[in-house]
């Protein structure tokens, strides 16, 4: 029997998990944000447990946090983006990043969630190891602004990499058949805890590998127990 031919010199399966948490930090999210923050803290442990139970050790686990508000309301604090933080090495930074999120501002609906989603899709995902899972989780209680609105894109802080339309963003998400996608089809998952409003229902209908847990717009995500949310994310690995 030939053996030990893989790169790392042992026979174990190397599994990489990257998770990007996109969190709406506008004022209406105050109550929810406290929950999201709390569970984000327990995340690393829970995920490791879940994977061990499935017989898959995670060889690489990285978390990234994107907090978003509204470029239309206040472009200066519309987006906070962390790099990928490695667990357990960068756990401190991860906890600091999560702790620093605070709810406030945002004005009225809609918010700049699609920009956050675009930045998440454009992340520097792990491309090595044997198997990968790239998960984006969206937490919001609002609809999103359409992409490409000059009133937002003209802001000095507006990220240049964000595509000009939902169509273009879709092309970056891609399907099993697309050639231009940024995301690796079998690896990617998009979990949306969001109301039944633009663009969440469209995305859920049209984009593959998405899981949509609708909440009632304006009422926040309270109906979703945080524990269920963590379990859902862990299940998606």
């Amino acid at each position: 029997m030939s053996q030990n031919q893989n790169r790392s010199g042992d026979n174990n399966l190397k599994y990489a998990v990257d998770i990007v948490l996109c969190v709406d930090t506008t004022a209406s999210m105050a109550r929810m944000l406290a929950n999201v923050k709390q569970s984000a803290m327990s995340f690393p442990n829970r995920l490791a447990q879940e994977m061990a139970a499935k017989g898959r050790g995670i060889s690489s686990l990285r978390l990234k946090v994107i907090g978003f508000r509204d470029y239309a309301d206040c472009a200066e604090d519309a987006m906070v983006v962390s790099p990928f933080l490695r667990v357990p090495d960068d756990l401190d930074s991860f906890e600091k990043t999560v702790n620093a999120l605070h709810a406030g501002g945002g004005g009225d609906e809609p918010e700049s969630a699609l920009e956050a989603l675009a930045l998440a899709i454009g992340s520097d995902w792990e491309t090595g190891l044997d198997r990968r899972r790239h998960v984006i989780v969206m937490f919001t209680d609002a609809s999103a602004h359409r992409l490409g609105d000059p009133r937002h894109t003209s802001a000095a802080t507006y990220p240049q990499s964000v595509p000009g339309s939902l169509e273009e963003l879709y092309a970056q998400w891609g399907s099993g058949q697309s050639h231009s996608a940024r995301m690796e089809n079998p690896a990617k998952r998009l979990l949306m805890f969001a109301p039944e409003s633009y663009p969440w229902t469209d995305i859920a209908d049209d984009w593959n590998n998405t899981i949509y847990f609708p909440s009632v717009a304006g009422e926040g995500l309270e109906e979703w127990e945080m524990d269920q949310i963590i379990a859902t994310i862990a299940n998606s690995l």
Partner: protein
């Protein structure tokens, strides 16, 4: 899908979840008084006229959807509920699309509230045989299940008595022997995966799709039999994360010390590193038909590594040279004499 939504006549009666499911959302459903399991696939999604994407992109997606649907209807056609051994395969009764999404429906199975290792030896044998017989049918048709693991084998009470039968679910990772899906998308589970599966998935040099055959299922069966008898798969040593990894490295699997000689040799051959050296599933079925196959040939040299049952059975443990694989003698004793054929101590 949503709780209370009606899809093709099936009313969703539980909140959809992705528990134990990598590629779907699932829930239980009802239709015409019957109870069903309904699965909503995450990929592919059917493009509509007003869907996002260019015309060419939508054409490609549409073609992918047709291939996906064909794969499912082909499996449904190949595995028919009226086949002699199909009784314990949980087969799709419906496959359809609503809007942009595909759904698959199977009868709902209500798992028993019992573990295989708590059965007496005959009970364990019945359970294993129901599993193996299902695979005999599958393998005879050239189909590899591809994701054998305890989560995909639901244990249900037999129609009468205290026996459990194994219902095999989730044929969504199944493939024709020698023609598996590409390495990036092939299903399977690291704990029960075969060495050739592990090498294929990792893209090792010299790993070939054609070596992924029914023998990959057979490897999993070897591990599963151990799991059903003792509650856990065999040990695979520090430094290896799975039985397949250990076997690939030439390290022996650590069988439970209570495992008898004949069954141990069977499991060893089922988990051979070289897939060509493993018996075919029909041989496993035949081996399980031999009398006393689960009964060990000699008393184990070392005591079993599990604590003894809290209530010692009346009359003490096995006093003879034969030990039951099952240490839960209380269960064996309390079951009726009818259940004791082939497994009482014979001097």
């Amino acid at each position: 899908m949503k709780l209370n939504q009606v899809l093709n006549g099936y009313r969703v009666v539980t909140r959809p979840t992705n528990a134990d499911a990598g590629k779907c959302l699932w829930a239980f459903a009802e239709k015409g008084g019957g109870e069903f399991f309904i699965k909503e696939f995450l990929d592919p999604k059917i493009p509509k006229a007003d869907s996002m994407g260019t015309v060419e992109d939508k054409e490609r997606r549409f073609a992918e959807c047709e291939r996906f649907a064909k794969r499912h209807t082909d499996i449904m056609a190949a595995l028919r509920a009226d086949d002699v051994h199909a009784g314990n395969l949980v087969l799709a009764v419906d496959f359809f699309a609503v809007g942009t999404r595909y759904y698959k429906v199977t009868p709902r199975v209500r798992p028993a509230d019992a573990a295989a290792r708590d059965l007496d030896t005959r009970g364990q044998l019945v359970l294993l045989k129901t599993l193996v017989d299902s695979l005999v049918l599958l393998h005879a048709k050239g189909i590899v299940h591809g994701d054998l693991k305890p989560e995909n084998i639901l244990l249900t009470p037999a129609r009468k008595g205290s026996l459990l039968v194994a219902k095999l679910i989730d044929f969504d990772d199944a493939y024709q022997a020698g023609a598996p899906p590409m390495a990036e998308v092939i299903g399977g589970n690291p704990l029960y995966g075969a060495p050739e599966w592990l090498r294929y998935l990792r893209g090792d040099q010299g790993a070939h799709a054609r070596s992924l055959t029914q023998a990959a299922d057979v490897f999993a069966v070897g591990l599963l039999i151990h799991t059903y008898l003792f509650g856990v798969p065999p040990g695979y040593g520090e430094g290896h994360e799975s039985p397949a990894a250990a076997v690939l490295a030439g390290a022996p699997l650590a069988w439970d010390s209570r495992l008898g000689g004949r069954i141990r040799r069977l499991l060893e051959s089922l988990t051979a590193a070289d897939h060509r050296a493993r018996p075919v599933i029909a041989d496993v079925a035949a081996a399980l038909d031999e009398p006393d196959v689960l009964v060990s040939a000699a008393v184990s040299p070392s005591p079993p590594p599990v604590p003894p049952p809290s209530t010692p059975p009346p009359g003490g443990g096995a006093r003879t040279s034969r030990v039951l694989v099952n240490t839960t003698k209380t269960a064996a004793r309390t079951s009726s004499a009818r259940l004791r054929i082939n497994l009482t101590d014979k001097n």
